[in-house]
């Protein structure tokens, strides 16, 4: 037995975003139980789990919408437990919400600009908006259109673009394949992979385990608030239990 505390065990100075023994409660209900996570620069990691396993709570805790009852959330080496969402967004975490949730009555441009709400560097914002245009040329064509009138695929692009506008270090994605037609799901994962290849660290929560693991570097599996598996994507795909539970009885490769 080592004498080290659990805290220092998982401490890693190179991690962008870290959970150290995080517990959260909604009232008396214990949601996350001693969760340890770490996301490193340039990584694409995914968090798998069924319904009510605490995936969304994990994201909310990372973003500061839920405060942990014990344990630490560490952003870039700094404990940010008591910092509000705005602080965390300003310091490099952004979320692409489930179902995209654009501001439907606002134009695409306004949506993108709201992503950069906390920034004041006009040049930087312009630079980033050009970057988003480069990434998604179709978004540029739709700038003055109301976001609600876009097709599903375009909305996903705007949602990701909006998140990128805050110049994040880590992009959190809540169920990116939720509510998309099968053809779009594939396209969507290609998008995520593309952004990751540009060097962006991505933390993705997903029910579509097969798809997610096919592009991820690492993955965690959450079961009723506890991390039960933590491995490389490769290994997780080979894991038989997981195959049975999530991947449709090992019918794959």
């Amino acid at each position: 037995m080592s004498t080290e505390t659990s805290n220092s065990e998982s401490t890693d100075p190179s991690a962008l975003l870290e959970f150290r023994q995080v517990n959260t409660h909604y009232g008396a209900v214990h949601i996350l139980k001693d969760v340890d996570l770490a996301i490193y620069p340039g990584e694409l990691v995914c968090l798998l789990g069924g319904n009510a396993s605490g995936k969304t709570t994990t994201l909310k805790t990372l973003l500061g919408m839920v405060t942990p009852t014990s344990g630490d959330v560490v952003l870039d080496g700094e404990v940010v437990n008591n910092q509000p969402t705005s602080y965390r967004v300003a310091n490099g975490v952004t979320m692409v919400p489930e179902n995209r949730r654009l501001f439907k009555r606002l134009t695409v441009k306004e949506n993108l600009m709201l992503g950069a709400y906390l920034r004041n560097d006009r040049d930087g914002i312009n630079e980033d908006i050009e970057y988003v245009y480069d990434l998604f040329p179709r978004v540029k064509e739709r700038l003055s259109q109301k976001a609600g009138t876009l097709s599903g695929g375009e909305q996903q692009m705007v949602a990701i673009g909006r998140a990128l506008m805050s110049r994040p270090k880590v992009l959190l994605m809540d169920e990116p394949s939720m509510g998309l037609a099968p053809a779009l799901v594939q396209q969507n994962f290609e998008l995520i992979e593309k952004i990751n290849n540009e060097g962006m660290a991505i933390f993705m929560v997903e029910q579509n385990a097969n798809m997610a693991l096919s592009i991820a570097d690492r993955g965690w599996v959450l079961l009723t608030g506890r991390v039960i598996l933590d491995d490389t994507a490769e290994a997780l795909r080979a894991n038989e239990d997981l195959q049975k539970a999530y991947l449709g009885g090992g019918s794959g490769e």
Partner: protein, 594 residues
């Protein structure tokens, strides 16, 4: 036997649907007492009074509705003709029959106990003053009006324009008679007023006809030009649009400054009323229209503004009477209104939607009850209120409460300030955060917007604007009473904002002028002072109609129109095949779930 020609086949279903509805509407209007109450207001003297207009327009409208058809593109519809006219006639006649039955009923039964307008007086109005008029006449009148309504569908469009513009002008001129009368003195145009109006009120017959044909003619000549000009203005971009806006703004400003000089007491005080409500509505528009916070207790801030002014300026304030000038007290008004905004806002702001609306409703009443309470009577005078509030001393000029022109200028100044503030805020960072919160509060929070602070700011800005209105009102009336701040005021302001168009500054203007200027505020008479207590009914009907037919308001902000009519918009583009690009799947739904 010969069958009827196909053009004479009547759509009986429509007739028996709209006819009885028309009859019911006529009965309702009669029993509510509109014909009696509005009879003194003459439109064309001595032929037509507003009371009869309130009856006549119904068969006309229903005749029009019953005979109009749904035109589908690509589907052959038979030409409008005789059968449509007959449909109109029958619909109107069924409606008129309702009134015939009513007259017979009044003659033979007495149920005046629940229905106070079931009276000989109503009978007299319905009989056009004649004693032994056959009640069946109304069937004929209804039929004739239905015919006119149906004819509007049949006649060519240009003629329809002439008729509708002409009659609306006559109606409008007659409604505006008191205002025109009042203004004529300033412009030295009394002779013109004498020429077209009767002494006892109402247009003279010939001037009415000439006026109607003149406007009808102009409407044909200017057809489409106004629309084009507006469209042109909308399409302008950047500096050009700015320029046009400045010119328009300049014209409005000059008019606002110059016109009151020519206006008499009546119009000035009417406009001051409109202005006070406009100021309130502009404030509420920020809260409801921009930030999406449904505040039903907005009158609280109006009350705080008025009471603060009363306490700080009146010598008769019971507890603390520094007797400041109005201008100086305004500083405290702003501070206290902002504080009240924070105090009420802080607990309320974390709630959403319906809950928030109900809690604000409660706070609105709490503030009034506090001023009314015995507990605070030593400070605010309880039900007796605070009297002896002096006029407005701005340092360089003194405006007494009865100086309607001065008050109007003051109101104008504060309205301009409110417009400027709303306009600047709309484009600001704060304004953007409000829009985001209104759209999706959770996502706004995830974008790093401090939603609590943003919403509190909306509350505070709205509170300060309302307190200005309160301060002016207090000085104008010279006294404040708790019961001047009933919940009804909150509702009326909200109706002004909704009818005008939420989030649209021009919309709020139109809403305030139409509702407060023409119908009148909760206690303030408007141009149609004959409406009296009926105006709340009209408010309600207007609100229901607007929600059903034009939820975006009279002058909508471009954003709302598109959202509310998006389905129609999408259907249209689908029909016209212009939207071929979007082949992808619709967004909603969860097809991809595994």
């Amino acid at each position: 036997m010969t069958t009827l020609p196909s053009t004479l086949l009547l759509d009986w279903k429509r007739i028996f649907k709209w006819g009885p509805i028309c009859a019911a509407a006529l009965l309702f209007v009669s029993l509510v007492g509109m014909p009696i109450k509005l009879d003194p207001k003459s439109i064309i003297s001595p032929l037509l009074s507003l009371g009869y207009v309130s009856l006549f327009w119904l068969p006309l409208i229903f005749g029009y509705i019953a005979s109009s058809r749904v035109v589908l593109e690509g589907v052959e519809t038979s030409k409008p003709g005789l059968s449509d006219l007959l449909t109109g006639v029958l619909t109107g006649a069924i409606g008129g029959a309702g009134l015939t039955l009513l007259m017979l009923g009044i003659e033979n039964f007495d149920i005046r106990d629940p229905l106070i307008n079931w009276s000989p007086q109503l009978l007299e109005v319905l009989a056009f003053g004649a004693r032994d008029l056959n009640s069946a006449v109304w069937i004929g009148i209804g039929g004739a009006l239905g015919l006119v309504g149906a004819a509007l569908n049949v006649i060519p469009e240009s003629l329809r324009r002439v008729v509708s513009y002409g009659s609306f002008t006559v109606l409008a001129v007659a409604i505006f008679e008191p205002a025109l009368d009042d203004m004529s003195e300033g412009f030295r145009l009394e002779w013109l007023i004498e020429l077209i109006f009767q002494k006892r009120g109402g247009l003279k017959l010939w001037p009415a006809i000439i006026l109607a044909s003149l406007i009808g003619l102009i409407s044909v000549i200017s057809k489409g030009k106004v629309k084009k000009a507006v469209a042109q203005y909308r399409e302008q971009e950047g500096s050009q649009k700015k320029q046009t806006s400045y010119v328009l703004f300049g014209i409005v400003a000059v008019l606002g400054i110059v016109l009151p000089i020519f206006m008499g007491t009546y119009v000035n005080s009417l406009l001051a009323n409109v202005g006070i409500f406009l100021l309130l509505a502009l404030g509420l528009n920020i809260v409801v229209g921009l930030a999406g916070i449904l505040d039903l207790g907005y009158v609280a801030f109006f009350a705080v503004g008025a009471y603060t002014t009363a306490v700080f300026t009146s010598e008769l304030s019971p507890f603390f009477a520094p007797g400041m000038t109005w201008a100086l007290s305004l500083v405290f008004v702003v501070i206290l209104a902002a504080l009240t905004g924070l105090i009420i806002g802080a607990p309320v702001i974390r709630m959403r939607g319906d809950y928030l609306a109900i809690v604000t409703l409660g706070f609105g009443e709490i503030i009034r009850l506090l001023f009314l309470s015995d507990f605070l009577k030593p400070y605010f005078g309880g039900a007796q209120g605070i009297l002896g509030i002096p006029g407005i001393d701005l340092g360089f000029v003194y405006i007494s409460g009865t100086d309607t022109r001065g008050i109007f200028y003051l109101v104008l100044f504060f309205c301009a300030l409110a417009v400027y503030v709303s306009w600047r805020l709309q484009a600001s960072r704060l304004g953007r955060s409000w829009m985001a919160i209104r759209e999706d509060e959770q996502v706004a929070e995830a974008m790093g917007i401090n939603t609590v602070n943003s919403k509190l700011m909306a509350f505070v800005v709205g509170a300060v604007l309302a307190s200005f209105a309160g301060a002016i009102m207090a000085a104008r009336v010279g006294s404040v009473f708790p019961n001047s701040f009933m919940i009804l005021i909150s509702i009326v302001i909200l109706v002004v904002v909704i009818v005008g168009g939420m989030g649209s500054i021009p919309g709020v203007f139109v809403g305030a002028f139409v509702l407060i200027g023409i119908l009148g505020g909760p206690k303030q008479p408007g141009l149609l002072q004959e409406f009296g207590s009926l105006k709340l009914l009209v408010y309600g009907m207007l609100l229901v109609y607007m929600m059903l037919q034009r939820p975006e308001g009279l002058v909508p902000s471009a954003r709302r129109t598109q959202e509310l009519h998006q389905e129609e918009f999408l259907q249209d583009s689908w029909l016209k095949g212009t939207d071929a690009e979007d082949e992808e799947q619709p967004v909603e739904g969860e097809e991809a779930q595994i």
